[in-house]
């Protein structure tokens, strides 16, 4: 009746694919490892909470300082002329992961900006503050990376760190006309937003028409002022960035601990069920063995 031939589909029992019911030992092992993970994530959350409290406290004066430094650019409405070609992007993040979408949001914004600016015909270079930025941009946009900074995020940032970044940038030899600092602005414990603040080069500011209302400025003073403002803006973005990162890490570790407890509950139930099943099986064997003797 069946046509002879190899076309007939034969049901093959599949080896190795069938999962036996997990033994008690497997479940115990899984349970132990998940409990360890929960302890780790809980302690990471505590550490992040402490660092976050300190970062938020230090952010308050840093915000006043940063808004003061940016006030000139806003009030004088300095804008780079359209034909200026050289652009600089500074992405501020850190070295360490496990903090949610902090690094990827900066990298995404950077990649979008690079594409937009390149399409508009401008020359773009990127400075990455934090090893994660380097890691995320290296493969696809490696040739745009001008400088990267490591050892960011281990200690709370100080003004000295910002001035090191500013001086390396100014000594790098890349004569940018305008640029922006991309950082995560802290909004609240559970939310942050990726934000952009402008920076301008000495020539752009000196050539800006609205600067003429400022009296008695000579080139030396203006250069000094500009370099100081650059360090100020970097300091402000570093402070905001750290606070956002610590709060995001706190949230991420908290979620991880919650997920781990959920898994522990489910596994404990499975463990108890399995244990009871094992006991029942032994009883059945004994009883049927005894019944067979009768």
């Amino acid at each position: 009746m069946f046509a002879r031939g190899a076309v007939v589909a034969l049901y093959q029992p599949q080896w190795g694919q069938v999962r036996n019911m997990a033994t008690l030992k497997d479940i115990t092992r899984r349970l132990k490892s998940i409990k360890n993970i929960q302890k780790i994530t809980k302690s990471m959350k505590m550490v992040s909470a402490a660092k976050y409290a300190r970062a938020e406290r230090e952010l308050k004066p840093a915000r006043v300082y940063g808004t003061g430094a940016l006030a000139l650019y806003e009030k004088a409405e300095i804008k780079a002329p359209e034909d200026k070609k050289k652009h600089l992007l500074i992405g501020v993040s850190s070295d360490r992961g496990l903090c949610g979408a902090i690094h990827t949001s900066i990298a995404k914004t950077l990649k979008n900006e690079i594409t937009n600016l390149s399409n508009a015909g401008k020359e773009v270079m990127v400075v990455g503050v934090g090893d994660k930025i380097r890691g995320l941009l290296q493969r696809t946009h490696g040739n745009y990376l001008l400088l990267t900074f490591k050892e960011v995020g281990r200690r709370p940032p100080s003004f000295g760190d910002a001035s090191v970044i500013a001086s390396e940038l100014l000594n790098s030899g890349y004569e940018f006309d305008e640029g922006s600092v991309i950082y995560n602005r802290f909004r609240s414990v559970i939310s942050y937003k990726t934000d952009e603040k402008p920076i301008f080069s000495l020539e752009t500011v000196a050539g800006s028409e609205s600067l003429s209302i400022y009296d008695d400025i000579d080139a030396d003073v203006l250069r000094n002022y500009q370099e100081f403002t650059l360090a100020n803006i970097l300091y402000y973005s570093l402070k905001e960035s750290t606070t956002s990162e610590q709060s995001a890490r706190m949230t991420a570790m908290d979620n991880a601990s919650k997920n781990a407890s959920e898994m522990i509950d489910k596994l404990t139930l499975t463990f108890n069920r399995t244990r009871q099943a094992v006991i029942t099986k032994e009883l059945i064997e004994i009883i049927s063995g005894a019944a067979a003797l009768d």
């Binding site: 230090e58 308050k60 004066p61 840093a62 006043v64 300082y65 003061g68 430094a69 006030a71 000139l72 009030k75 004088a76 100080s158 003004f159 209302i213 400022y214 009296d215 008695d216 400025i217 003073v221 203006l222 000094n224 002022y225 100081f228 403002t229 100020n232 300091y235």
Partner: protein, 165 residues
């Protein structure tokens, strides 16, 4: 009835409005815009948008005092004393290491100091010994960079000693 109404209207319309007050040459300007003064260091905020009478700042081009409606300017601070005169006349002094001062057209003033401390945090004896050390460092400095650094230390310590005496 109409007559009464017309009379009422006339009475109501009677008092003429005073003519709009034109400003004569002898009148003062529209009123001084109060100074919104912000004075901060990276770690501490001393004044934030406060209303003060006058601020004296030491800059690279000399010391000058800023009152409300000062002409807009950008300056760089040099080590020295910033004196803030509050509305009631009390003066508070701070020692600043360096920084920038910005006066805008709308009478907002930002003094951003890299390091700023109140005078009671400073010790004259320590300042004098630091000054001596800095002078000897400058004499012993070999290359340009070290010489420049030592020079900066000497200037800062000199200003400190001068401020405390």
């Amino acid at each position: 009835m109409f007559r009464a109404r017309r009379l009422l209207l006339r009475l109501a319309a009677r008092p003429p409005l005073p003519p709009p007050r034109a400003r004569g040459y002898a009148d003062p300007a529209a009123g001084p815009v109060p100074m919104a003064f912000t004075f901060a260091s990276p770690t501490q905020v001393f004044y934030n948008g406060a209303n003060v009478k006058q601020v004296d700042v030491p800059t690279l081009t000399g010391s000058f005092g800023i009152l409300a409606s000062h002409v807009p300017t950008l300056q760089v601070l040099k080590p020295g004393v910033v004196t803030v005169y509050a509305e009631d006349g009390t003066a508070t002094k701070y020692f600043v290491s360096s920084g920038s001062v910005t006066v805008h057209a709308d009478s907002t003033v930002q003094v951003l100091a890299e390091e700023a401390v109140t005078m009671d945090m400073l010790d004259l004896a320590a300042a004098k010994s630091n000054l001596e050390k800095a002078v000897s460092e400058m004499a012993a400095a070999s290359d340009e960079a070290a010489k420049a650094e030592a020079q900066i230390k000497v200037e800062a310590n000199e200003a400190l000693v001068k401020a405390l005496e």
